[in-house]
């Protein structure tokens, strides 16, 4: 859709604001509606919009699939790591109260870090899922040859 001037310009204009809004939803999630999941989806939607307008290849250069896939694991590690950190500080798993000088601050930091992990993973998963489906054509062609060779092997 790169030939449509309006779409092209609007997409380029909107993308940074979408990302900014995602970050707002992410880090304001403990006081208002929002949180890691919603923020992650909004964040990823900026990339998906860009990919729709400018093509998957261009989008892949901004968010390389290898980086996106690593980010999936990284987010989960941030979440689980917070829990392990509170265990190492002598509390129960995911006991945020020990993460700062007092329980109130600890709970606050804890939920922020954990939700950040959620956001990273959700955004990365959304981008990866989109790229995987959008990039099916090449994979399908490559697989045709393999599949015909396998067909007579087993019922």
């Amino acid at each position: 859709m790169i030939e449509h001037v309006v779409l092209r310009v609007i997409a380029k204009l909107l993308a940074p604001f979408i990302v900014l809004f995602a970050l707002y939803v992410q880090f304001h999630g403990d006081f208002g509606p929002g949180g890691g999941f919603q923020a992650g989806v909004i964040f990823a939607s900026a990339f998906i919009l860009y990919a729709l307008i400018y093509g998957v290849e261009n989008a892949r250069q901004i968010a390389p699939p290898a980086v996106a896939q690593a980010a999936i694991g990284l987010g989960v590690l941030i979440y689980a790591g917070t829990g392990v950190a509170s265990m190492l500080l002598g509390g129960k798993y995911l006991d945020y109260s020990l993460l700062a000088q007092d329980a109130g601050h600890g709970q606050h930091y804890g939920i922020l870090i954990v939700e950040f992990g959620v956001g990273v993973t959700v955004a990365a998963v959304m981008i990866t899922v989109f790229f995987t489906f959008a990039g099916r054509r090449g994979v399908l062609e490559a697989r045709e040859d393999v599949a015909t060779a396998e067909d007579d092997e087993d019922r």
């Binding site: 999936i72 694991g73 990284l74 989960v76 590690l77 392990v84 129960k92 092997e153």
Partner: protein
Amino acid sequence: MADHLPILQVILPLIAAPLCLLVRHALACWLIATLVSWLCLAIAVLLLHQVLDGGTIRYQLGNWVAPWGIEYVVDRLNGFILVIVAAIGAVVAPYALRSIDSELPERQIGLFYVMYLLCLAGLLGITITGDAFNVFVFLEISSLSSYALISMGRHRKALHAAYQYLVMGTIGATFFLIGVGLLYMMTGTLNMADLADQLKPLAGSRIVLAAFGFIVVGMGLKLAVFPLHLWLPNAYAHAPSTVSVFLAGTATKVSLYVVLRFIFTVFGFEFSFVNQPLGPALLVLAIAGIVVCSLVAIYQDNVKRLLAWSSVAQIGYMLLGLSFATAIGLQAGLLHMFNHAIIKAGLFLAMGCVFLRLGSCRIEAIAGVGRQMPWTMMGFLLCGLSLIGVPPTAGFVSKWYLVLAALEKGWWPVAALIVLTSLLAVVYVWKVVEVAWFRDPPGTAGRIGEAPLAMLVPLWIMVGANLWFGLETSGNVDVARAAATALMGAVQ
């Protein structure tokens, strides 16, 4: 550190999975997966020891007190199941190195271990948690990863099998979630112990009854109870060999555990068996499943599919024990759960070795393989004898207790049926053994060697376990009895 064992049981594989995703290197991922599987087994054994000595262990996540926060509870029943799941994982992980290497393309191997670890974490999580909604979360983790694992099968039909399982599994999980939602609506709590207390005065409520139905049917789908089993044969037959071993030994057992946990702990014995005709209903389904699926197994021409149908029949035996609604019946069911895990894992391990060398598990393809892979097929034969229930194998012990339980009830036709259907198992096990040992290999087949040691050792550990638990029954029989009496305890 000892206080943290319940949470470590789950988060070790849960943290190792994303770690493998970051590493991606096949051998490194295998090392991580194997190490974590062994650690999980060590933790599960330690937990069971603690529970048998000192009673129930509770662990509050995030230090939130029980009815509000999520609580992990280990008692005799799920301590026992944790050991089963972790033990199968610990045997499967070393086996995976060679088996997965030959069956999956290079770039998928790292991802395989990610999925395997997630599945392990999910299954252990379902077992250990004391929170009804948390069960659903872990159920989804283990289910989604097992769909992915099955779809990695070499043949394109694996995709179809995985999709079929995905549809059925999602319906099952949704039913379970609806049931939990209804319970939450009625009681305002998700903690299992708290639910049990709050549900006592609500026994006559139709909504609770609906919740009971949704939960039992939903988990029945995941458990592959007879008429809801259609996803299972395809899934086990087309999955990579390692995955068949792992799922056959763990997935249905964990689902059965959830059913037990809900009908005994949450709803209570009286609600499930006295107010509701759950016993007769399960009895009919169990017998139908045993007879029909054993007969279907006889007519299969793919050994993995044959074993899968036999699995559905064996689930029938476990439910049969449960349907007696007596302590000894429950003990027999739990014992068969344990024994069937080691039997079926052993049989699928053997077929994985055959598949490595032959690239097929069809009956005609394995002709004469017994002479070329004697150790593998000897292992298959011994586990097969255990499946039939020949002394001195583990299968004999659980069938013995099943017959005892049937006789204690005075249901001698059921006892006779248990013996008769074992003869059906003789037919389908013999079918494989005959072809493997007494037929000549097809003319086109070249000379094939024995499976590598890395796969034979796990197989023979399982064979050894089958013989060990057939002769030295004090360990698992006592634990099963302790678990059964703990479940029935409230009644007597």
